[in-house]
Amino acid sequence: MQRIYVDNAATTAISPEVLEAMMPFMQEVYGNPSSIHSFGQEASAALEKARLEIAEILGAKSKEIYFTSGGSESDNWAINAALSIGAKRGKKHIVSSKIEHHAVLHVLKRLEKEGYEVTYLDVNGNGIVKLEDLKSAIREDTALVTIMYANNEIGSIQPITEIGALCREKGVLFHTDAVQAVGNLPVNVVEDNIDFLSLSAHKFHGPKGVGVLYCRTGLALRGLIIGGAQERGRRAGTENVAAIVGMSAALKQAKDNMQANNIALKKMQAKLIDELLKIPRSRLNGDPIKRLPGNISFCFEGIEGEALLLSLDMVGIAASSGSACTSGSLDPSHVLLAIGLPHEIAHGSLRLSLSNFNTMEEMEYIIENLKIIVKRLRDMSPVWEKLEKEANTNGLQ
Protein backbone atom coordinates (compact mmCIF):
# COMPACT_ATOMS: atom_id res chain seq x y z
CA MET A 1 0.00 0.00 0.00
CA GLN A 2 1.10 3.53 -0.78
CA ARG A 3 1.95 5.59 2.33
CA ILE A 4 1.57 9.35 2.26
CA TYR A 5 2.78 11.65 5.00
CA VAL A 6 0.82 14.90 5.16
CA ASP A 7 1.37 15.74 8.83
CA ASN A 8 4.38 18.00 8.38
CA ALA A 9 3.11 20.58 10.84
CA ALA A 10 3.53 17.89 13.50
CA THR A 11 7.01 17.01 12.34
CA THR A 12 8.99 16.47 9.16
CA ALA A 13 11.42 13.90 7.83
CA ILE A 14 15.11 14.77 8.06
CA SER A 15 16.31 15.60 4.57
CA PRO A 16 19.16 13.49 3.12
CA GLU A 17 21.42 16.56 2.97
CA VAL A 18 20.76 17.36 6.61
CA LEU A 19 21.52 13.80 7.64
CA GLU A 20 24.74 13.94 5.68
CA ALA A 21 25.76 17.16 7.40
CA MET A 22 25.09 15.59 10.80
CA MET A 23 26.86 12.29 10.32
CA PRO A 24 30.45 13.41 11.02
CA PHE A 25 29.29 14.76 14.37
CA MET A 26 27.97 11.39 15.46
CA GLN A 27 31.28 9.55 15.36
CA GLU A 28 34.26 11.52 14.11
CA VAL A 29 33.84 14.95 15.64
CA TYR A 30 32.73 13.91 19.08
CA GLY A 31 34.69 16.29 21.26
CA ASN A 32 33.02 18.42 23.91
CA PRO A 33 32.86 21.97 22.53
CA SER A 34 34.00 23.27 25.92
CA SER A 35 37.28 21.32 25.79
CA ILE A 36 40.39 23.14 24.72
CA HIS A 37 42.01 20.25 22.82
CA SER A 38 41.61 19.82 19.09
CA PHE A 39 38.68 17.41 19.46
CA GLY A 40 36.78 19.99 21.43
CA GLN A 41 37.79 22.87 19.22
CA GLU A 42 36.56 21.13 16.09
CA ALA A 43 33.18 20.67 17.74
CA SER A 44 33.19 24.23 19.02
CA ALA A 45 33.98 25.58 15.56
CA ALA A 46 31.06 23.65 14.09
CA LEU A 47 28.78 24.97 16.81
CA GLU A 48 29.77 28.59 16.23
CA LYS A 49 29.52 28.18 12.46
CA ALA A 50 25.97 26.90 12.88
CA ARG A 51 25.16 29.79 15.20
CA LEU A 52 26.43 32.32 12.68
CA GLU A 53 24.60 30.72 9.75
CA ILE A 54 21.32 30.64 11.64
CA ALA A 55 21.80 34.22 12.85
CA GLU A 56 22.43 35.48 9.32
CA ILE A 57 19.32 33.80 7.96
CA LEU A 58 17.19 35.42 10.66
CA GLY A 59 18.86 38.81 10.29
CA ALA A 60 20.32 38.46 13.77
CA LYS A 61 23.77 38.46 15.34
CA SER A 62 25.53 35.30 16.48
CA LYS A 63 25.41 36.26 20.12
CA GLU A 64 21.64 36.65 19.95
CA ILE A 65 21.15 32.94 19.15
CA TYR A 66 20.69 30.48 22.02
CA PHE A 67 20.41 26.78 21.27
CA THR A 68 17.57 24.99 23.05
CA SER A 69 15.79 21.64 22.95
CA GLY A 70 13.08 22.99 20.67
CA GLY A 71 10.02 25.18 20.35
CA SER A 72 8.48 24.44 23.72
CA GLU A 73 11.63 25.25 25.64
CA SER A 74 12.21 28.43 23.67
CA ASP A 75 8.63 29.57 24.32
CA ASN A 76 8.90 28.86 28.04
CA TRP A 77 12.25 30.56 28.28
CA ALA A 78 11.29 33.65 26.30
CA ILE A 79 8.13 34.31 28.29
CA ASN A 80 9.77 33.88 31.66
CA ALA A 81 12.81 35.92 30.66
CA ALA A 82 10.65 38.79 29.42
CA LEU A 83 8.67 38.77 32.64
CA SER A 84 11.75 38.93 34.77
CA ILE A 85 12.80 42.03 32.84
CA GLY A 86 9.35 43.55 33.42
CA ALA A 87 9.33 42.55 37.08
CA LYS A 88 12.02 45.13 37.79
CA ARG A 89 9.44 47.77 36.98
CA GLY A 90 6.50 45.98 38.55
CA LYS A 91 4.92 44.95 35.26
CA LYS A 92 2.43 42.14 35.72
CA HIS A 93 0.44 42.10 32.49
CA ILE A 94 0.83 39.99 29.34
CA VAL A 95 -0.97 40.21 26.00
CA SER A 96 -1.34 37.11 23.86
CA SER A 97 -3.91 35.53 21.54
CA LYS A 98 -6.54 32.82 21.88
CA ILE A 99 -4.89 30.64 19.25
CA GLU A 100 -1.39 30.16 20.65
CA HIS A 101 0.26 26.76 20.87
CA HIS A 102 0.02 25.03 24.24
CA ALA A 103 3.72 25.73 24.75
CA VAL A 104 2.68 29.37 25.19
CA LEU A 105 -0.90 29.04 26.38
CA HIS A 106 -0.20 26.66 29.23
CA VAL A 107 2.72 28.76 30.41
CA LEU A 108 0.38 31.76 30.54
CA LYS A 109 -2.26 29.75 32.41
CA ARG A 110 0.27 28.94 35.08
CA LEU A 111 1.45 32.55 35.26
CA GLU A 112 -2.14 33.64 35.82
CA LYS A 113 -2.24 31.38 38.88
CA GLU A 114 0.96 33.03 40.04
CA GLY A 115 -0.56 36.49 39.94
CA TYR A 116 -0.01 37.70 36.39
CA GLU A 117 -2.85 39.10 34.35
CA VAL A 118 -3.19 37.93 30.76
CA THR A 119 -5.27 39.44 27.96
CA TYR A 120 -6.01 36.83 25.29
CA LEU A 121 -6.84 38.65 22.08
CA ASP A 122 -9.68 37.35 19.96
CA VAL A 123 -8.99 36.52 16.35
CA ASN A 124 -11.26 37.18 13.40
CA GLY A 125 -13.05 34.36 11.57
CA ASN A 126 -9.92 33.68 9.55
CA GLY A 127 -7.77 33.32 12.63
CA ILE A 128 -6.02 36.68 12.51
CA VAL A 129 -5.43 39.08 15.39
CA LYS A 130 -6.81 42.61 14.99
CA LEU A 131 -4.23 45.36 15.44
CA GLU A 132 -6.75 47.73 17.05
CA ASP A 133 -7.43 45.09 19.69
CA LEU A 134 -3.74 44.81 20.41
CA LYS A 135 -3.39 48.56 20.55
CA SER A 136 -6.09 48.90 23.16
CA ALA A 137 -4.90 45.88 25.14
CA ILE A 138 -1.40 47.21 25.78
CA ARG A 139 -1.17 48.96 29.16
CA GLU A 140 1.37 50.81 31.25
CA ASP A 141 2.14 47.61 33.11
CA THR A 142 2.30 45.30 30.08
CA ALA A 143 5.53 43.33 30.31
CA LEU A 144 5.18 41.26 27.17
CA VAL A 145 3.22 40.72 23.99
CA THR A 146 3.50 37.12 22.78
CA ILE A 147 1.78 36.33 19.49
CA MET A 148 2.62 33.45 17.19
CA TYR A 149 3.93 34.10 13.70
CA ALA A 150 1.78 31.47 12.02
CA ASN A 151 -0.74 29.08 13.47
CA ASN A 152 0.00 25.37 13.53
CA GLU A 153 -3.61 24.21 13.07
CA ILE A 154 -5.20 26.57 10.58
CA GLY A 155 -2.06 28.09 9.06
CA SER A 156 -3.10 31.72 9.48
CA ILE A 157 -0.20 34.20 9.37
CA GLN A 158 -0.34 37.13 11.78
CA PRO A 159 0.59 40.72 10.82
CA ILE A 160 3.93 40.33 12.61
CA THR A 161 5.62 43.36 11.07
CA GLU A 162 2.80 45.62 12.26
CA ILE A 163 2.63 43.96 15.66
CA GLY A 164 6.39 44.32 16.10
CA ALA A 165 6.31 47.98 15.11
CA LEU A 166 3.43 48.68 17.48
CA CYS A 167 5.16 46.98 20.40
CA ARG A 168 8.39 48.84 19.76
CA GLU A 169 6.50 52.13 19.58
CA LYS A 170 4.80 51.38 22.88
CA GLY A 171 8.00 50.14 24.48
CA VAL A 172 6.68 46.65 25.17
CA LEU A 173 8.72 43.49 24.68
CA PHE A 174 7.55 41.27 21.82
CA HIS A 175 7.97 37.51 21.60
CA THR A 176 6.80 35.47 18.63
CA ASP A 177 6.49 31.70 18.42
CA ALA A 178 7.75 31.29 14.86
CA VAL A 179 7.94 27.51 15.01
CA GLN A 180 5.61 27.04 12.03
CA ALA A 181 6.91 30.04 10.11
CA VAL A 182 10.67 29.59 10.05
CA GLY A 183 11.63 27.52 7.04
CA ASN A 184 8.38 28.35 5.25
CA LEU A 185 8.40 32.16 5.32
CA PRO A 186 11.19 34.73 5.22
CA VAL A 187 11.56 35.79 8.84
CA ASN A 188 13.71 38.79 9.78
CA VAL A 189 13.96 39.76 13.42
CA VAL A 190 15.21 43.27 12.73
CA GLU A 191 12.65 44.24 10.10
CA ASP A 192 9.87 42.83 12.28
CA ASN A 193 11.11 44.42 15.53
CA ILE A 194 11.14 41.05 17.26
CA ASP A 195 12.68 40.89 20.75
CA PHE A 196 12.33 37.16 21.31
CA LEU A 197 11.69 34.44 18.75
CA SER A 198 11.24 30.68 19.08
CA LEU A 199 11.98 28.16 16.36
CA SER A 200 12.25 24.39 16.16
CA ALA A 201 14.37 22.38 13.71
CA HIS A 202 12.08 19.39 13.24
CA LYS A 203 9.47 21.51 11.50
CA PHE A 204 11.77 22.19 8.54
CA HIS A 205 13.42 18.82 7.85
CA GLY A 206 15.91 19.14 10.69
CA PRO A 207 16.28 16.82 13.68
CA LYS A 208 13.92 16.67 16.65
CA GLY A 209 14.78 18.01 20.08
CA VAL A 210 16.69 21.07 18.95
CA GLY A 211 15.69 24.67 18.44
CA VAL A 212 16.64 28.28 18.95
CA LEU A 213 15.69 31.13 21.19
CA TYR A 214 16.59 34.45 19.62
CA CYS A 215 17.00 37.19 22.20
CA ARG A 216 17.82 40.71 21.05
CA THR A 217 21.07 42.21 22.37
CA GLY A 218 20.55 44.64 25.17
CA LEU A 219 17.92 42.50 26.83
CA ALA A 220 19.02 40.76 30.00
CA LEU A 221 18.25 37.13 29.28
CA ARG A 222 17.67 35.32 32.55
CA GLY A 223 19.49 31.98 32.57
CA LEU A 224 17.40 28.86 32.15
CA ILE A 225 19.66 26.03 33.24
CA ILE A 226 22.30 26.76 35.84
CA GLY A 227 25.63 25.00 35.57
CA GLY A 228 28.45 25.25 33.05
CA ALA A 229 29.18 28.21 30.83
CA GLN A 230 27.46 26.93 27.70
CA GLU A 231 25.26 29.34 25.74
CA ARG A 232 26.93 32.37 27.30
CA GLY A 233 26.17 31.00 30.74
CA ARG A 234 22.43 31.06 30.16
CA ARG A 235 21.78 27.41 29.42
CA ALA A 236 24.17 24.91 30.90
CA GLY A 237 24.76 21.45 29.49
CA THR A 238 26.97 19.95 26.80
CA GLU A 239 25.55 20.93 23.45
CA ASN A 240 23.90 18.51 21.04
CA VAL A 241 26.40 19.34 18.32
CA ALA A 242 25.12 16.96 15.65
CA ALA A 243 21.55 18.21 16.05
CA ILE A 244 22.62 21.85 16.01
CA VAL A 245 24.67 21.32 12.85
CA GLY A 246 21.65 19.55 11.35
CA MET A 247 19.38 22.43 12.28
CA SER A 248 21.67 24.91 10.59
CA ALA A 249 21.92 22.75 7.45
CA ALA A 250 18.14 22.38 7.38
CA LEU A 251 17.53 26.09 7.77
CA LYS A 252 20.03 26.90 5.04
CA GLN A 253 18.38 24.39 2.72
CA ALA A 254 14.94 25.77 3.53
CA LYS A 255 16.10 29.30 2.84
CA ASP A 256 17.86 28.43 -0.43
CA ASN A 257 14.83 26.54 -1.74
CA MET A 258 12.13 28.70 -0.20
CA GLN A 259 10.87 30.26 -3.39
CA ALA A 260 10.75 27.04 -5.38
CA ASN A 261 9.25 25.13 -2.44
CA ASN A 262 6.62 27.78 -1.90
CA ILE A 263 5.52 27.63 -5.51
CA ALA A 264 5.26 23.84 -5.44
CA LEU A 265 3.52 23.80 -2.06
CA LYS A 266 0.99 26.42 -3.07
CA LYS A 267 0.15 24.49 -6.21
CA MET A 268 -0.57 21.33 -4.23
CA GLN A 269 -2.39 23.34 -1.58
CA ALA A 270 -4.62 25.03 -4.16
CA LYS A 271 -5.43 21.69 -5.75
CA LEU A 272 -6.47 20.19 -2.41
CA ILE A 273 -8.46 23.22 -1.36
CA ASP A 274 -10.31 23.47 -4.68
CA GLU A 275 -11.23 19.81 -4.71
CA LEU A 276 -12.16 19.52 -1.04
CA LEU A 277 -14.40 22.58 -1.25
CA LYS A 278 -16.43 20.60 -3.80
CA ILE A 279 -17.47 18.25 -1.00
CA PRO A 280 -20.85 19.54 0.20
CA ARG A 281 -20.89 21.20 3.63
CA SER A 282 -17.14 21.43 3.87
CA ARG A 283 -15.29 24.56 4.89
CA LEU A 284 -11.74 25.82 4.74
CA ASN A 285 -10.46 27.03 8.12
CA GLY A 286 -8.05 29.92 8.32
CA ASP A 287 -7.27 32.74 5.96
CA PRO A 288 -7.41 31.87 2.25
CA ILE A 289 -4.46 34.15 1.45
CA LYS A 290 -2.51 34.87 4.61
CA ARG A 291 -1.76 31.21 5.25
CA LEU A 292 1.21 28.88 5.43
CA PRO A 293 1.91 27.41 2.00
CA GLY A 294 1.58 23.79 3.15
CA ASN A 295 -1.46 24.08 5.43
CA ILE A 296 -4.89 22.77 4.50
CA SER A 297 -7.41 22.83 7.35
CA PHE A 298 -10.97 21.72 6.73
CA CYS A 299 -14.15 20.84 8.55
CA PHE A 300 -16.60 18.33 7.17
CA GLU A 301 -20.03 18.56 8.76
CA GLY A 302 -21.70 15.42 10.03
CA ILE A 303 -18.56 13.42 10.76
CA GLU A 304 -16.00 13.21 13.52
CA GLY A 305 -12.29 13.83 13.05
CA GLU A 306 -10.82 10.77 14.73
CA ALA A 307 -12.90 8.40 12.62
CA LEU A 308 -11.75 10.38 9.61
CA LEU A 309 -8.07 10.15 10.60
CA LEU A 310 -8.19 6.41 11.25
CA SER A 311 -10.00 5.83 7.96
CA LEU A 312 -7.31 7.82 6.17
CA ASP A 313 -4.61 5.87 8.00
CA MET A 314 -6.15 2.63 6.74
CA VAL A 315 -5.49 3.78 3.19
CA GLY A 316 -1.99 4.96 4.08
CA ILE A 317 -2.61 8.68 4.58
CA ALA A 318 -1.15 10.27 7.75
CA ALA A 319 -2.94 13.50 8.74
CA SER A 320 -4.20 15.20 11.88
CA SER A 321 -7.35 16.68 13.42
CA GLY A 322 -8.44 19.11 16.11
CA SER A 323 -11.39 17.01 17.23
CA ALA A 324 -11.96 16.35 20.92
CA CYS A 325 -11.34 12.63 20.49
CA THR A 326 -7.88 13.25 19.10
CA SER A 327 -6.97 15.95 21.57
CA GLY A 328 -7.76 13.66 24.48
CA SER A 329 -10.06 16.23 26.05
CA LEU A 330 -13.79 16.80 25.88
CA ASP A 331 -13.52 19.91 23.80
CA PRO A 332 -12.34 20.32 20.24
CA SER A 333 -9.28 22.46 19.61
CA HIS A 334 -9.20 25.92 21.16
CA VAL A 335 -8.11 27.32 17.79
CA LEU A 336 -11.20 26.09 15.96
CA LEU A 337 -13.42 27.41 18.74
CA ALA A 338 -11.60 30.76 18.67
CA ILE A 339 -12.42 31.26 14.99
CA GLY A 340 -16.07 30.86 15.95
CA LEU A 341 -16.83 27.29 14.91
CA PRO A 342 -19.54 25.54 16.94
CA HIS A 343 -18.41 22.33 18.69
CA GLU A 344 -20.32 20.05 16.35
CA ILE A 345 -18.50 21.42 13.30
CA ALA A 346 -15.11 21.64 14.98
CA HIS A 347 -15.35 17.90 15.76
CA GLY A 348 -15.15 17.19 12.03
CA SER A 349 -11.83 18.89 11.43
CA LEU A 350 -8.93 17.66 9.35
CA ARG A 351 -5.48 19.14 8.92
CA LEU A 352 -3.28 18.18 6.00
CA SER A 353 0.16 19.76 6.15
CA LEU A 354 2.46 19.38 3.19
CA SER A 355 6.20 19.51 2.69
CA ASN A 356 8.33 19.68 -0.42
CA PHE A 357 8.64 15.89 -0.21
CA ASN A 358 4.99 15.54 -1.24
CA THR A 359 3.91 15.21 -4.87
CA MET A 360 0.92 16.14 -7.00
CA GLU A 361 0.15 12.43 -7.51
CA GLU A 362 -0.16 12.11 -3.77
CA MET A 363 -2.67 14.95 -3.76
CA GLU A 364 -4.78 13.08 -6.34
CA TYR A 365 -4.70 9.97 -4.16
CA ILE A 366 -5.70 11.99 -1.08
CA ILE A 367 -8.58 13.71 -2.85
CA GLU A 368 -9.94 10.47 -4.27
CA ASN A 369 -9.78 8.62 -0.96
CA LEU A 370 -10.97 11.48 1.19
CA LYS A 371 -14.13 11.88 -0.88
CA ILE A 372 -14.92 8.18 -0.46
CA ILE A 373 -14.22 8.24 3.28
CA VAL A 374 -16.27 11.37 3.98
CA LYS A 375 -19.20 9.84 2.11
CA ARG A 376 -18.87 6.52 3.94
CA LEU A 377 -18.82 8.17 7.36
CA ARG A 378 -21.68 10.50 6.47
CA ASP A 379 -23.78 7.59 5.23
CA MET A 380 -23.69 6.14 8.73
CA SER A 381 -24.07 9.45 10.58
CA PRO A 382 -27.38 10.44 12.20
CA VAL A 383 -26.10 14.02 12.28
CA TRP A 384 -25.69 13.98 8.51
CA GLU A 385 -29.16 12.46 8.14
CA LYS A 386 -30.59 15.42 10.04
CA LEU A 387 -28.62 17.96 8.02
CA GLU A 388 -29.87 16.39 4.80
CA LYS A 389 -33.46 16.40 6.03
CA GLU A 390 -33.22 20.07 6.99
CA ALA A 391 -31.74 20.91 3.62
CA ASN A 392 -34.55 19.06 1.86
CA THR A 393 -37.34 20.75 3.77
CA ASN A 394 -35.70 24.13 3.28
CA GLY A 395 -35.37 23.36 -0.41
CA LEU A 396 -39.09 22.52 -0.64
CA GLN A 397 -40.20 25.73 0.98
Binding site: G302, I303, E304, G305, E306, A307, L310, M314, S323, A324, C325, G328, L330, P332, P342, H343, E344, H347, M380, S381, P382, V383, W384, E385
Partner: protein
Amino acid sequence: MAYSKKVMDHFANPRNVGKMDNADGVGEVGNAKCGDIMKVYLKVDDDIITDVKFNTFGCASAIATSSIATEMIKGKNLQEALSLSNKAVVDALDGLPPSKVHCSVLAEEAVKAAISDYYIRNNIAHDSELFKCTGCCNSCDNL
Protein backbone atom coordinates in the same frame (compact mmCIF):
# COMPACT_ATOMS: atom_id res chain seq x y z
CA MET B 1 -3.78 5.49 22.59
CA ALA B 2 -4.15 2.23 20.75
CA TYR B 3 -7.32 0.39 19.85
CA SER B 4 -7.62 -3.38 19.97
CA LYS B 5 -7.82 -5.36 16.74
CA LYS B 6 -11.48 -6.01 17.53
CA VAL B 7 -12.25 -2.29 17.74
CA MET B 8 -10.46 -1.61 14.47
CA ASP B 9 -12.31 -4.49 12.82
CA HIS B 10 -15.70 -3.20 13.92
CA PHE B 11 -14.73 0.33 12.91
CA ALA B 12 -13.49 -0.72 9.47
CA ASN B 13 -16.29 -3.22 8.85
CA PRO B 14 -19.21 -2.19 11.02
CA ARG B 15 -21.95 -4.83 11.37
CA ASN B 16 -25.62 -3.91 10.98
CA VAL B 17 -24.86 -0.40 9.85
CA GLY B 18 -27.76 1.40 8.20
CA LYS B 19 -31.22 2.79 8.70
CA MET B 20 -34.57 0.99 8.89
CA ASP B 21 -37.79 2.24 7.33
CA ASN B 22 -40.39 0.38 9.35
CA ALA B 23 -38.64 0.01 12.65
CA ASP B 24 -40.62 -1.10 15.67
CA GLY B 25 -38.43 0.90 18.00
CA VAL B 26 -35.86 3.65 17.50
CA GLY B 27 -33.50 5.08 20.10
CA GLU B 28 -31.13 7.98 19.74
CA VAL B 29 -28.66 9.06 22.41
CA GLY B 30 -25.71 11.40 22.56
CA ASN B 31 -25.02 14.94 21.65
CA ALA B 32 -23.33 16.35 18.58
CA LYS B 33 -21.73 19.02 20.73
CA CYS B 34 -19.87 16.33 22.65
CA GLY B 35 -18.99 14.49 19.51
CA ASP B 36 -21.03 11.27 19.59
CA ILE B 37 -24.57 10.38 18.60
CA MET B 38 -25.88 6.82 18.25
CA LYS B 39 -29.16 5.80 16.72
CA VAL B 40 -30.43 2.21 16.99
CA TYR B 41 -33.36 0.75 15.02
CA LEU B 42 -35.10 -2.47 16.07
CA LYS B 43 -37.41 -4.90 14.35
CA VAL B 44 -39.23 -6.89 17.03
CA ASP B 45 -41.19 -10.04 16.40
CA ASP B 46 -42.88 -11.80 19.28
CA ASP B 47 -40.49 -10.29 21.84
CA ILE B 48 -37.47 -11.27 19.72
CA ILE B 49 -35.17 -8.73 18.08
CA THR B 50 -35.23 -10.07 14.54
CA ASP B 51 -33.30 -7.23 12.98
CA VAL B 52 -31.25 -4.29 14.19
CA LYS B 53 -29.51 -1.40 12.47
CA PHE B 54 -27.45 1.50 13.71
CA ASN B 55 -26.17 4.89 12.61
CA THR B 56 -23.41 6.62 14.53
CA PHE B 57 -21.68 9.98 14.44
CA GLY B 58 -18.49 9.83 16.42
CA CYS B 59 -15.01 8.48 16.76
CA ALA B 60 -13.83 4.99 15.88
CA SER B 61 -14.75 3.58 19.27
CA ALA B 62 -18.26 5.05 19.05
CA ILE B 63 -18.75 3.27 15.74
CA ALA B 64 -17.19 0.03 17.03
CA THR B 65 -19.23 -0.07 20.25
CA SER B 66 -22.49 0.47 18.40
CA SER B 67 -21.56 -2.15 15.85
CA ILE B 68 -20.77 -4.84 18.42
CA ALA B 69 -23.75 -3.92 20.60
CA THR B 70 -26.12 -4.52 17.68
CA GLU B 71 -24.43 -7.84 17.05
CA MET B 72 -24.84 -8.80 20.69
CA ILE B 73 -28.59 -8.15 20.78
CA LYS B 74 -29.62 -9.48 17.40
CA GLY B 75 -31.78 -12.60 17.79
CA LYS B 76 -32.12 -12.06 21.54
CA ASN B 77 -35.37 -11.43 23.37
CA LEU B 78 -36.00 -7.97 24.78
CA GLN B 79 -35.25 -8.98 28.35
CA GLU B 80 -31.85 -10.31 27.32
CA ALA B 81 -31.14 -7.20 25.24
CA LEU B 82 -32.00 -5.01 28.19
CA SER B 83 -29.39 -6.75 30.30
CA LEU B 84 -26.61 -5.77 27.90
CA SER B 85 -24.12 -3.79 29.97
CA ASN B 86 -21.49 -1.40 28.82
CA LYS B 87 -18.93 -3.64 30.50
CA ALA B 88 -20.00 -6.55 28.31
CA VAL B 89 -19.53 -4.32 25.28
CA VAL B 90 -16.04 -3.32 26.41
CA ASP B 91 -15.09 -6.93 27.07
CA ALA B 92 -16.42 -8.08 23.71
CA LEU B 93 -14.14 -5.51 22.07
CA ASP B 94 -11.11 -6.73 24.05
CA GLY B 95 -11.07 -3.47 25.96
CA LEU B 96 -11.26 0.24 25.23
CA PRO B 97 -8.85 3.04 26.18
CA PRO B 98 -10.08 4.67 29.42
CA SER B 99 -11.01 7.91 27.66
CA LYS B 100 -13.31 5.92 25.35
CA VAL B 101 -15.29 3.91 27.87
CA HIS B 102 -18.10 6.45 27.68
CA CYS B 103 -18.75 5.20 24.14
CA SER B 104 -19.73 1.80 25.52
CA VAL B 105 -22.11 3.48 27.96
CA LEU B 106 -23.65 5.29 25.03
CA ALA B 107 -24.05 2.00 23.13
CA GLU B 108 -25.85 0.44 26.10
CA GLU B 109 -28.08 3.48 26.39
CA ALA B 110 -28.86 3.50 22.67
CA VAL B 111 -30.10 -0.10 22.85
CA LYS B 112 -32.20 0.68 25.92
CA ALA B 113 -33.63 3.80 24.31
CA ALA B 114 -34.73 1.79 21.28
CA ILE B 115 -36.38 -0.87 23.46
CA SER B 116 -38.06 1.80 25.53
CA ASP B 117 -39.43 3.34 22.35
CA TYR B 118 -40.79 -0.06 21.34
CA TYR B 119 -42.50 -0.48 24.73
CA ILE B 120 -44.02 2.98 24.58
CA ARG B 121 -45.30 2.55 21.02
CA ASN B 122 -46.98 -0.71 21.99
CA ASN B 123 -48.28 0.41 25.36
CA ILE B 124 -46.33 -2.29 27.09
CA ALA B 125 -45.89 -1.68 30.78
CA HIS B 126 -42.22 -1.51 31.74
CA ASP B 127 -40.06 -0.43 34.57
CA SER B 128 -38.91 3.04 33.58
CA GLU B 129 -36.15 2.83 36.19
CA LEU B 130 -34.33 0.51 33.80
CA PHE B 131 -34.12 3.24 31.23
CA LYS B 132 -32.81 5.93 33.45
CA CYS B 133 -30.15 7.93 31.77
CA THR B 134 -26.73 7.92 33.40
CA GLY B 135 -26.39 11.54 32.39
CA CYS B 136 -23.29 10.57 30.51
CA CYS B 137 -24.35 11.76 27.10
CA ASN B 138 -26.40 14.85 27.92
CA SER B 139 -28.90 13.87 25.26
CA CYS B 140 -31.68 14.51 27.77
CA ASP B 141 -30.86 18.20 27.41
CA ASN B 142 -31.98 17.98 23.81
CA LEU B 143 -35.43 16.55 24.55
